[in-house]
């Protein structure tokens, strides 16, 4: 079955530290991949997306993600986090099923950045 897994429900890091949020998908083909961020009491906003080409994609606010076909992963990274990065991060994959595209979300990772 097609699925998206974010294995870490909560991640806490110190301000200025590097960050990696993990995402794995289950799909026989190559999906379209997205990372969204949700700040408190707001809707989701797109951070970055991968369709094809260079496996490392750059997003807003210094975020980047790397697609790995061999590992079926799309991990999100940031070199130095800021307290304002505290939010919930969702990985999502658009995968074809029975002729239509389904966007499936992971369960989210709550990121807390400590001052």
């Amino acid at each position: 079955a097609q699925s998206v897994t974010q294995p870490d429900a909560r991640v806490t890091v110190s301000e200025g530290a590097s960050l990696q949020l993990r995402c794995k998908y289950s799909y026989s083909g190559t999906p379209y991949l997205f990372w969204y961020v949700q700040y408190q009491r707001q809707g989701l906003q797109l951070l970055l997306k991968y369709y094809s080409g260079d496996p490392v994609v750059q997003g807003v606010n210094g975020f980047e993600a790397e697609f790995s076909k061999s590992d079926s992963s799309f991990h999100l990274r940031k070199a130095s986090v800021h307290w304002s990065d505290s939010a919930v991060y969702f990985c999502a994959a658009s995968m074809e099923s029975s002729g239509s595209w389904q966007l499936i979300f992971g369960s989210g990772t709550q990121l807390t950045v400590m001052p």
Binding site: V4, Q6, A9, Y32, F34, Y36, R41, Q42, G43, L44, Q45, L46, K49, Y51, F90, S94, W101, Q102, L103, F105, G106, S107, G108
Partner: protein, 112 residues
Amino acid sequence: GGIITQTPKFLIGQEGQKLTLKCQQNFNHDTMYWYRQDSGKGLRLIYYSITENDLQKGDLSEGYDASREKKSSFSLTVTSAQKNEMAVFLCARGLGGAETLYFGSGTRLTVL
């Protein structure tokens, strides 16, 4: 850019009550979506609509109805509110297919 507006922001209802959530977009996108967000469970698709008067069921459609009478608006009805469906309901718009979604800020439902 376009705006997507969800009303109300907070909705309180009684168990068994019929409740309606509204979503408006001014970006002329064809496809609109309703997702339910439960804590620790990510987003699950309730209904989506490719264009006006079109309705497609998602994985979580049981207990919900939807209506898309105009391209700019997409409403969701909880047919009989239950305490276990207290959640945040998110509306989104997009171009369809594998394109980026743009979300509203959500309606938080509480059932007493």
